[in-house]
């Protein structure tokens, strides 16, 4: 379990996060919902050590997790919002760079890359990524996050702007990862995805946590989840 306690962050006079606390459980997909500018990306940035929070602590089970420490970050892989690939490198080179950062053995890295490419139906060719279609790029971004096989997986809007067949493939892969015991945090504002994938839901608005509970508890707010969401964020 990855736990966040009392996370706050201000940029100048704007309090972007106000005492945010929640957890991601093993073997479950936690949907992280909120309107644009709610603080989802800032929370993820703090978790990954991209920004330093003003207050707040992180725990991996009971062990304090310090994002600035490189070895601790090895437990978390991620997809960032509007993430990009190295466009002049081909798909394999993009993947292999990540494998080297996580210090995977060459043979093991190659085996995993091959497996993920097959699973996500990604081109194994030598063409640079800039020639890939948007869907193919998005699948590669996800494959890059799945490559190190970390216990925690954080996904910030991984399905935005891609076609239905690609969405379907990615959803299936995420379900499989969840069944393998991974704790997955899935940030989105598309509610149908939440219904299909999530077991846990966290709703954030104006930097505050407005709801945390199971998907059933979320549904119990209103029969229509869009109405439930709107009630929480307004």
């Amino acid at each position: 379990m990855l736990r966040i306690e009392g996370l706050s962050k201000a940029f100048g006079n704007a309090n972007v996060l106000k005492n945010v606390s929640f957890s991601m459980k093993d073997g479950r997909i936690t949907a992280f919902l909120g309107p644009n500018g709610a603080g989802k990306t800032t929370t993820i940035r703090a978790l990954l050590g991209i920004i330093r929070p003003d207050t707040g602590k992180f725990y991996m089970d009971t062990t304090p997790y310090i994002p600035e420490q490189v070895n601790m970050r090895k437990n978390i892989s991620f997809v960032l919002e509007n993430a990009s690939l190295y466009e002049r490198l081909n798909g394999y080179e993009n993947m292999y760079f990540v494998a080297q950062i996580w210090q995977l053995e060459k043979s093991m890295a190659e085996e995993r890359i091959k497996k993920l490419f097959n699973e996500l139906e990604i081109d194994y060719g030598k063409k640079p990524v800039k020639l890939y279609s948007k869907g193919m790029k998005q699948k590669l971004i996800l494959a890059r996050a799945l490559l190190p096989s970390c216990r925690y997986l954080i996904l910030d809007e991984p399905l935005s702007g891609i076609d239905i067949p690609t969405k379907h493939i990615i959803r299936e892969v995420l379900k499989k990862e969840k069944n393998n015991g991974k704790a997955i945090m899935y940030s989105t504002h598309i509610l149908e995805e939440v219904e299909e994938l999530a077991q846990e839901v966290i709703v954030i608005a104006h930097g505050e946590i407005r709801f945390k509970g199971s998907i059933n508890e979320f549904r119990s707010i209103d029969n229509d989840i869009e109405t439930a969401f709107m009630r929480l964020v307004v």
Binding site: I50, A83, S84, L85, Y86, F97, I101
Partner: protein, 378 residues
């Protein structure tokens, strides 16, 4: 260490496939710049050779070729009449020089035309030889040795080795300047470029320290800059050796150059490059786009050019303080080493200046790289 190597590999692959970087690091220094140098030099060289061999046309104003001038016809001269002493006759290519006679020969030439200038020099020399031959003949007639002509003989003995040419200093300065500018494309791409393409945030979230990322990027930049200047050095050497052997002697005084301290010269170039790479990194990390980073680089180019101009203007009056001024100290120290002068005190000052420079700018670059404001600026 593994993190740094991974970053270097990634940056190297990314840079080698970037057309802009290839153009800046290979095409410009290997082909374009030597060509820029070769064209005007080979043009001048060809003119010099032409004048040496070609028939010089002398325009005669209000005079006919006298007996003395007639002997010049055997020495590849031709004569034609002109109705005035006018530079236009030379400009139009009808004559190379114009001659008129009062108490002595007046030789008119165009100082802006290298062909006319060289023709005048050749004519003066041939007149001197002619005079000497006449005198020798007269002495012979009265039974005296021609040694009487030169009653005092001189032998020229240089007291010190000929100083390195200002052209050579300019080449060294250009090489140093290029080693910095050539690598700027790589560092801009590796920092502001990553930010522009939204890959920097991903990179710093990976389990690799920011120190490793920064060092990896700086090493790649340095390698590109070093290879680029080395290739340029080779290209210039080949250009001079095979295409302009005469110019290499007259412009570079290569005989006076010593390569005894080449290892120290390389060290100075490396230190100069590294310190400027750090400075460029600090600036380009802050930039939110490639265009903005390029804008920041402009003043750096001036910083590099200023010492070169200074060196050209005051090369003879330089004092020991120059060893404290980056770039200027490199040029002066390399020049001294190339003419075989080694001063350990000056060298130590140069090295310490650069080590301090590298330390300060690395710390500054790292601070920028760890700053949320700089990294997330978009």
């Amino acid at each position: 260490m593994k993190g740094i190597i991974s970053i270097i590999k990634k940056e190297f692959l990314n840079s080698i496939r970037d057309k802009r970087i290839l153009y800046m690091s290979i095409i410009l220094p290997v082909f374009i710049y030597p060509l820029f140098l070769l064209l005007p030099l080979s043009f001048t060289n060809e003119k010099i050779n032409n004048v040496k061999e070609k028939k010089i046309i002398v325009g005669l104003f209000k005079m006919e070729p006298d007996s003395a001038l007639k002997t010049f016809e055997n020495k590849n001269y031709a004569f034609s009449s002109v109705d005035s002493v006018n530079v236009e006759f030379i400009k139009s290519g009808n004559v190379d020089i114009i001659l008129s006679k009062d108490s002595f020969y007046n030789v008119f030439y165009d100082p802006e035309d290298i062909g006319s200038q060289l023709a005048m020099e050749r004519f003066s020399k041939d007149v001197e030889t002619f005079n000497k031959e006449i005198l020798e003949g007269m002495l012979k007639k009265v039974g005296l040795s021609s040694d009487w002509i030169n009653s005092v003989n001189i032998k020229k003995i240089p007291l010190k080795k000929k100083n390195i040419s200002s052209f050579y200093i300019m080449l060294i300065a250009f090489l140093i300047m290029w080693s910095v500018i050539g690598s700027s494309a790589v560092i801009i791409e590796a920092t502001a470029g990553e930010k522009e393409r939204k890959t920097l945030e991903y990179l710093i979230a990976l389990p690799v320290s920011r120190e490793s990322i920064l060092i990896g990027k700086i090493i790649t930049t340095f390698i590109f800059g070093f290879v680029s200047s080395f290739l340029m050095f080779l290209a210039f050497s080949v250009a001079f050796k095979f295409f302009l052997p005469q110019a290499s002697k007259s412009l570079l005084y290569l005989n006076s150059v010593s390569f005894k301290y080449v290892h120290i010269i390389v060290l100075i170039i490396i230190l100069t490059m590294l310190s400027f790479d750090m400075l460029l990194t600090t600036l380009s990390i802050f930039a939110k786009s490639i265009r903005e980073a390029q804008m920041y680089m402009m003043p750096i180019s001036f910083l590099l050019i200023l010492p070169i101009i200074f060196m050209q203007m005051f090369s003879k009056d330089l004092d020991s303080w120059v060893y404290f001024v980056p770039v200027l100290n490199s040029i002066v120290e390399i020049k001294e080493l190339l003419i075989g002068r080694f001063d350990s005190h000056n060298l130590l000052v140069v090295i310490l200046v650069y080590v301090a420079f590298i330390y300060i700018f690395f710390k500054r670059a790292l601070r920028s790289f760890k700053s949320e404001k700089a990294v997330l600026r978009s």
